[in-house]
Amino acid sequence: MNIRIQGGGRHARAIRRTSTVLAALALTSVTAVACGSDDSSDTPAAASATPVAGGKLTYATVQEPSCIDPGYDPSTVTGVIDRNIFDSLVSQTATGETKPWLATSWTVSPDGKTYRFSLRDGVTFHDGTAFDGAAVKATFDHAVDPETKSLYAAALLSAYQETRVIDPRTIEVVLTRPNASFLQSVGSPFLGIQSPASLERSAEELCTKPVGSGAFTFVSWTKNRDLVLAKNPAYQWAPDAADHDGPAYLDGITFQFISDDTARFGALTSGQVNVINNVPAANIRALKANGSLQYLRADSPGLAYSLILNTGREPLSDVRVRRALLRSVNLDALVESVYFGEYNRAWSLLSPTTIGYDKSLEGTWKFDAALANKLLDEAGWTQRDGDGFRTKDGKRLTIVWRTGAQLDRDGRGVVAQGVQADAKKVGIDLQYISEDVGTFSQHIFAGDLDIWGGNYQRPDGDILRFAFASDQGITKGGGNLFGLQDPTLDRLLNEASTTTDEAVREKNWADAQQYVIDNALAVPLTVGANLVGASNKVQGLRFEQSSNLTFFDTWLDPTK
């Protein structure tokens, strides 16, 4: 993602303010649900007991990374794994505050273009190399090096010009223009500091044998099976955001890759693994009912899972048809039946935990098949063909929704079929085509899609700019797939990213969300959430603001 702050360096303070808002939201979004009986004599896990060191944790995750060089790979699972191997300059608490980590303190130049970091002493990488300014420089230079072909880290460092090593304990990062998200980005695992010695190695080794300074060291990675980390006993530089100092409690973490939902859940219930993510919604009732397991969930911030509609093509170029589609879907019933209430339906393009979420949209565009039918009639789709679909001038009201087969997970295919069935009820022939990534990407670049369905996990409303601003076309690496040129949205979103006024920013993002719904530029479907199941033994599991799990404070309760 590219988050650029334009308009000079007077706005550095806004960054802190942003973090505060974020923190508040994060607080409300993370809910730990104790398992077992509702009378809740069990207190939430972390509250009382004293952590005990020892034991290995097995975490079954749905995704397997293809490369765990944080400078290269963009996938969420890479972030989760690398968080344990790499330390960042700064840390963020679950409440969203930015705290020192490898950088003990930092200052920002008045123009917002230069950040000066004082670095912690006594930190060594897993390969024995000492941490210093050169390591930071090497890491950042690696991320932006075209050779690295970075798919995400480089974007986090947008406007990066250079890193100056003032002395071994002091560096300056110079940007070409201010970047409001810079500190937040630097705290991301994707900019975790790598051993400069290890960065000399080939891309292949960087991908498969990462070397950082984190609380866990990389041990092995067997494709299609697992990735094993071991405790770094020398670890004495825990982030300030963490609950404890010194080495991690766990002796090691094994990430098991179990893509099959049923198998993953079965692995948890049979005790083969301690923690799983993406608990199949259908199994959550069983999970809650199981006295030896606990259930934790966190809504993900960013763009909710939504259908972005192509206004440049018939028939969705007609706003009435778009509105009809928006109103034809009985989302409440559909989401309830597919996800058993564990995922929420979305009212806005942004998920509720995103900075800038407009709560006022809730309840404003309820399911209304009659309205949808009326709108379609008005739009001239009055005839019906033999299959019950609407037609105009002999042409069927057909909307094609393509997706890549690999993107079809978390029950999205089922949601799609529900949307399809609802659309049919008002006479829309919605064709859902799940195809291989090659064909799908071909369609994306040809721009001949009617609908694109997807989500982005990002902290704030700036994601709207990524998805809708006219300068964010796909060939520029942006997310405006259909090349939408909407002056209203452009004004609202660009102003939001440059203004220093928090209120203006909030208002613009709210207006933009409103505008998207009014003009039915998209159909928000569900709010993504990280649904985690864990054994009761597992204590101190934490969600990051991103809704990812961290394991530094996690320990295994031998009494359970």
Binding site: N224, Q272, G477
Partner: protein, 311 residues
């Protein structure tokens, strides 16, 4: 002796031809897969133009097809399978690490299927009894049931419900039981029927009558005389067996979340990981070709009449 050497040399030459052919087919097929290979490789992420061009150049996609094919063949003949696009590792390493679990699974499944089928066949061949009817019905059921369904049911029952076996992965013996059983079930029916038919045909042969007329007992007749003849059609099936084992591994490894060649191939094909797919094709073809040679040699052992080996 000279003719055997000559025969082996010819067969090995043909094997090389088959391997190169298989690699070519894989290479060609992936050229025809729709979509821009670079985009596919990035897995849907939208790279900037610079990254895109650089990747394209590195992978040689800015070269014309014949040049790429030539380089591909040259690499192949040097024994270099290249570097996986998606896993960022040498293909040989990837296959090397994934081959053994699959081979383990395949061997276990084959062994299980063979033993069960042989027992079924030997005890029921040529006998009209209720037990034979039950066995035949069971075989038909096993042949007609999709392996993935069996796998799901076994997994649900034995792992989720009874917690008897690990749910996912596991290089332990216990972790091998269900996948091997699932894979074996598809084979047992075929094996048992082929062996029974072979046994029955052998039992009708005059030499069995002679053996019986010498006072040889029924069990000895079946094991000492008939079984060996029943194995010959089994050997003929070897190509099919290897195909089913490797093909079945794709499903089994997915269902049981096992590592292995099958699963890695499925993802490689979907991700258009050309070097990995061709690498797997080369390995599969090599196994196939060597196995065929081994089988023809085995024929000579099982049935010494086969002086001139049939192709």
């Amino acid at each position: 002796m000279r003719s055997t050497t000559w025969w082996l040399a010819r067969r090995l030459a043909l094997a090389v031809l088959v391997v190169v052919g298989a690699a070519t087919v894989a290479f060609g097929a992936l050229q025809l897969v729709p979509g821009d290979p670079v985009h596919v490789m990035m897995g849907g992420a939208a790279p900037s133009e610079e990254v895109y061009e650089r990747t394209r150049h590195e992978l040689g996609y800015d070269q014309p097809l014949p040049v790429r094919y030539g380089e591909f063949l040259g690499q192949l003949l040097r024994g270099d399978l290249g570097q996986s696009y998606q896993l960022h590792q040498p293909v040989a390493d990837v296959i090397g690490s994934q081959l053994w679990p699959t081979v383990q699974l395949a061997l276990a499944a084959f062994g299980l299927a063979f033993v069960v089928a042989a027992a079924l066949a030997v005890t029921t061949a040529g006998r009209r009894s209720g037990w034979r009817r039950v066995a035949s019905a069971a075989e038909l059921l096993m042949i007609s049931t999709p392996g993935f369904w069996v796998g799901v049911l076994l997994l649900t029952f034995f792992s989720f419900r009874l917690h008897l076996f690990p749910v996912a992965g596991g290089d332990s013996l216990a972790g091998l039981v269900l996948p091997a059983a699932t894979l074996a079930i598809g084979l047992i029916g075929v094996f048992a029927q082929v062996m029974r038919e072979g046994l029955e045909r052998a039992l009708e042969q005059p030499f069995v009558l002679s053996a019986r007329a010498r006072g040889t007992g029924e069990t000895a007749v079946r094991l000492r005389h008939a079984l060996r003849h029943a194995l010959i059609p089994m050997v003929t099936l070897s190509g099919w067996i290897v195909g089913s084992l490797l093909g079945g591994a794709v499903l089994i490894e997915t269902i049981f979340s096992r590592e292995g060649l099958g699963r890695i191939t499925a993802t490689a094909i979907a991700g258009r990981d050309l070097p990995l797919v061709t690498g797997v094709a080369v390995v599969a073809a090599t196994i196939f070709a060597l196995l065929n040679i081994a089988v023809d040699l085995l024929y000579r052992v099982i049935d010494p009449r086969m002086k001139e080996v049939v192709r």
